[in-house]
Symmetry: C3
Subunit: 439 residues, 3 copies
Amino acid sequence: MASCSSVVRSAVSVFFEYDTPRIAHIRSKKVGLINRLIQLTILGYIIGYVIVYKKGYQETDKVQSAVTTKLKGIIFSNDSNIPSIGVRTWDVADYVVPPQESNAFFVMTNVVPTPTQTQKTCPEDPTVDDIQCDSDEYCERRKGIAFLKGSGPLTGKCVDSDFPKFNGTKVCEIYGWCPVENDDMLQSLKEPVLQDAGNFTVFIKNNIEFPKFGVSRRNLPENEDDAYLSRCNYNPESSRDKFCPIFKLNTIVQGAGIEFNQIAAEGGVMQILIDWNCNLDHSISDCVPSYSFRRLDKGDFKISRGFNFRYANQFGVAQPDGSFKLYRNLYKAYGVRFLVTVQGTAGKFSVVPLLLNVGSGLALLSVATIICDIVVLYVLKARHFYRDKKYLDIKGPDAFEVLKEDSECSDGDNTPGRKPTFTESGSVSATDASTSQVR
Amino acid sequence: MASCSSVVRSAVSVFFEYDTPRIAHIRSKKVGLINRLIQLTILGYIIGYVIVYKKGYQETDKVQSAVTTKLKGIIFSNDSNIPSIGVRTWDVADYVVPPQESNAFFVMTNVVPTPTQTQKTCPEDPTVDDIQCDSDEYCERRKGIAFLKGSGPLTGKCVDSDFPKFNGTKVCEIYGWCPVENDDMLQSLKEPVLQDAGNFTVFIKNNIEFPKFGVSRRNLPENEDDAYLSRCNYNPESSRDKFCPIFKLNTIVQGAGIEFNQIAAEGGVMQILIDWNCNLDHSISDCVPSYSFRRLDKGDFKISRGFNFRYANQFGVAQPDGSFKLYRNLYKAYGVRFLVTVQGTAGKFSVVPLLLNVGSGLALLSVATIICDIVVLYVLKARHFYRDKKYLDIKGPDAFEVLKEDSECSDGDNTPGRKPTFTESGSVSATDASTSQVR
Amino acid sequence: MASCSSVVRSAVSVFFEYDTPRIAHIRSKKVGLINRLIQLTILGYIIGYVIVYKKGYQETDKVQSAVTTKLKGIIFSNDSNIPSIGVRTWDVADYVVPPQESNAFFVMTNVVPTPTQTQKTCPEDPTVDDIQCDSDEYCERRKGIAFLKGSGPLTGKCVDSDFPKFNGTKVCEIYGWCPVENDDMLQSLKEPVLQDAGNFTVFIKNNIEFPKFGVSRRNLPENEDDAYLSRCNYNPESSRDKFCPIFKLNTIVQGAGIEFNQIAAEGGVMQILIDWNCNLDHSISDCVPSYSFRRLDKGDFKISRGFNFRYANQFGVAQPDGSFKLYRNLYKAYGVRFLVTVQGTAGKFSVVPLLLNVGSGLALLSVATIICDIVVLYVLKARHFYRDKKYLDIKGPDAFEVLKEDSECSDGDNTPGRKPTFTESGSVSATDASTSQVR
């Protein structure tokens, strides 16, 4: 009947039970202080750093963004001494190549044009390795070979160079786009052709979204009128203009700590960083972008410094016989490549991350107990006293023992009949343990 | 000899020991229920949410992807009233600018051509600020200045505008690409030049890889034949066509909840999202993409709405004297920019994340004990009774004490000779504590 | 007065207290071994895997990068049998389209040129579906229709095809860019036009930054001189050349396990992976990139295999009447698209991640105790004995009880006067519990 009641109780009582560890409450100035100090440090870290500073109570979402850019600006270059450039005006369609890109745009600041090239034979660039010759034999031996850095295969002839600076030099003739490009004009330029490109403005349209929170924003101040937006220029100092989405290239380059003319001659790569770090627990109108600028190529590459590339406009020219001959205008464009990087995260209160941070925080708290236990059990003079209190020594039936009768006990383990006995002895040895036997 | 045996034992026995906290097993309806409820909640969260729902047992890997796009479609535009467009056919090489991009493509829907511009002098666009004049002096004063939104530097002359709408208006003359662009034609268009671009199709080839798991997939249904793939069109409703990689632009735009003609006139930016969320514990053939579409520019920018840019084709024209004169065809292209974003993660069972989640889960369980302890020790009437059971009060040698003899003890701490004494007194005070002394 | 002293003590003593769980120290070979083994496994995992192998003691930062590429190489193609190509030299400005991109570049390996197209009427490509006709009626019925894969709207006339291979076939006439493109030349090519593009070299300039640590690096060996850098070619085998930033396209393609001529004919998409995995606890000079190569399009697409796209150069041709007629050179370019992906993380010692990893590690340790408790309390023969030691059974005033007097007690809960009584009985039942009463 007792067993019955026990069965009933154990079955139901499981819902009305509660296990809590038994605690040794030690009153000691030394340990107490150590304990509290460590606990305070950990609590401070969890609450102050993880929860408050790192916003451990927020669920976060990365920004999704679309960037389109629109450049404005006109430059008039009067380089009549350089026929390939001459007197002309440069507009957006001239200096933005390619006309549009994702999250990037290129602005030409300097250029080496080689107009109306066509496929025929002409003297190679004298600066190419091993190209200078004194007789046809030299070139004949290399006939048909196209040097990696040359302009075409050698025809085998040795002819006079058409480069003014190399007047009188003889070079091998090649077959390819002729005349070949000649960089010498760069020296005769007092300054980069589009030196003033720093005055161009770029309108950066940036629409972003935090999909998880269904929040969409754009880098356009809401409370401004069109008149302002068509006039304004970004200015980090001004509390109003620092939200203007129209940037002078000078401002961008200076924002990276350099002057435009430093980068204009050889070109380079700049990064425009748009940061959207939004706390959606606050007003949505506080979710505004902040801009920063960096130079990505440090401009100190030993070889092929800066940034330049070649592109060509091909066109056909009608011949008397009605056929068309292929011509092209080649441009070696130096300039600044701007990469627009949009980054940032939005945070909004959520119970899940909070629980997780609290959970791992509690785990840390146990560190305090561990350290103090070490102090109490191994460092302090009174360690044996504390150990007695903290530990209840239990000698199990198969305890590792050097004394005779215990080992018998463990054998007895297998014979149910003797169970009460070792339980007895066990409880006995336990009581002994707590008084003297331990250690 | 006892000490000797103890040394031996402690040395070896460390491998045969096991420490488990001593537990106060409280039988109480109130606390028991609270305890179980909290535990169930936490277990439910860990198992149900973290492990099962969030697949906490899986190791994950981000998708690596390559996207190439191929557009198809022809449009015939009969705008004979607008000479710059006229009667012509538009094909891929005309309306995709630039011809290829990474994860993006642009489709022109409307265009303002300005053919055969060349560098000379001509009247400026009358809509530019401060450009209208009544006499040469006005322009003379601004000679050489290139307005940011103008087309070139002023020559100083005041001439008649060549814009039909501004017949009779006098504007300053500029030097640059002439004639200057004139947007008026847009008004005379009944609809965007490439209004029907919505019927174009784009074949999106997407090869993805989950490097960590060595799994490669592509957005092409395996079990389909070429005939189907060259014919099919993506259709989210159809269970078969929703895996077809060929999309009508109309379908994409409508997928974002707008009509193509809304976006065709001024242009815009669309996003094509390809989601690869694969559970590699299931069959690999279930690892298929799902497509969704969004409009990224909300199209409500107050200034410079939509999306447009300018590009030009330059070409030389042979002159009687054998030289070449530089000309260009300028295009202001309005259109839709499509960004293809591939995202997704693959998950596969792994023991490491499982352990980590269980670990932090267990830490959370301690929350239950903490809450119940608060109830038991501070809320319940019987709190003092429970406290007696849970806590063993130990008065250490340096305990903080107001009574005379204890403070003596703590002094005694430093004299080894008296150690047994305070251990004694300590254990005594402890026993007292567990019966009456506490609180 | 005693209560007074208690108040004072409890107020101050809170700083000099320390709670540590009371432990049942079980000496048992079985359980002890199980316990130690599990603990060792977990410790091994935490220290060996989480802390050491996974560098759990490091704070990490993702790489920020800028990539610019510069191609070099000349090809001479002698296809005089194919007039549209003929005898010509190809250079960078010819085979890189568009001239520059972010983190990517395209190299043309094969091409189908269709020179000097203009807007007029001509026979459609006979391979277009349903285009072949025998009489004008057939085309008349489809007049004005522009087939999706055609070149323009039908004029309604049925004319002879101008495709040599389809000599004698009659097709409908279209209005559009004429003559229409004809792929047949591909068959008459013995090999891709730019077959030797594998010998081109690409100089990949990669500047990276780890913003969090303020570390900037670039993929250029510091200790090398310009002579070497202008000459060297990347070679994974050589300990010196494996840091050379100049790559032969052959090397890249072979690095992905394929031959260049396999990919040259139809084109494809390759990925150049630059890994920057830096341990900033070591010397900064060990922070160097490693390169790997993959083919992203597996090249086994059933339809539209490989990678190709169309682009055109438009130009005007002066007419006798002084007007300009629009012409274009159309190119169908086959080639290899190279995507440059820069990835990697830098790690630096930081105490915060270390603490977090230790914290979650400690949580895991409790797993050992849990498993052993199960063994001790439910598996072993001596489980009842151990349970007595581990648990102190406390019957609370509102314990779930079938016996009469207890239920009275819980009623008594509400009468303060009887409190001592139940506390008494409680402590009694507790002592009983620890000896015999439990279960």
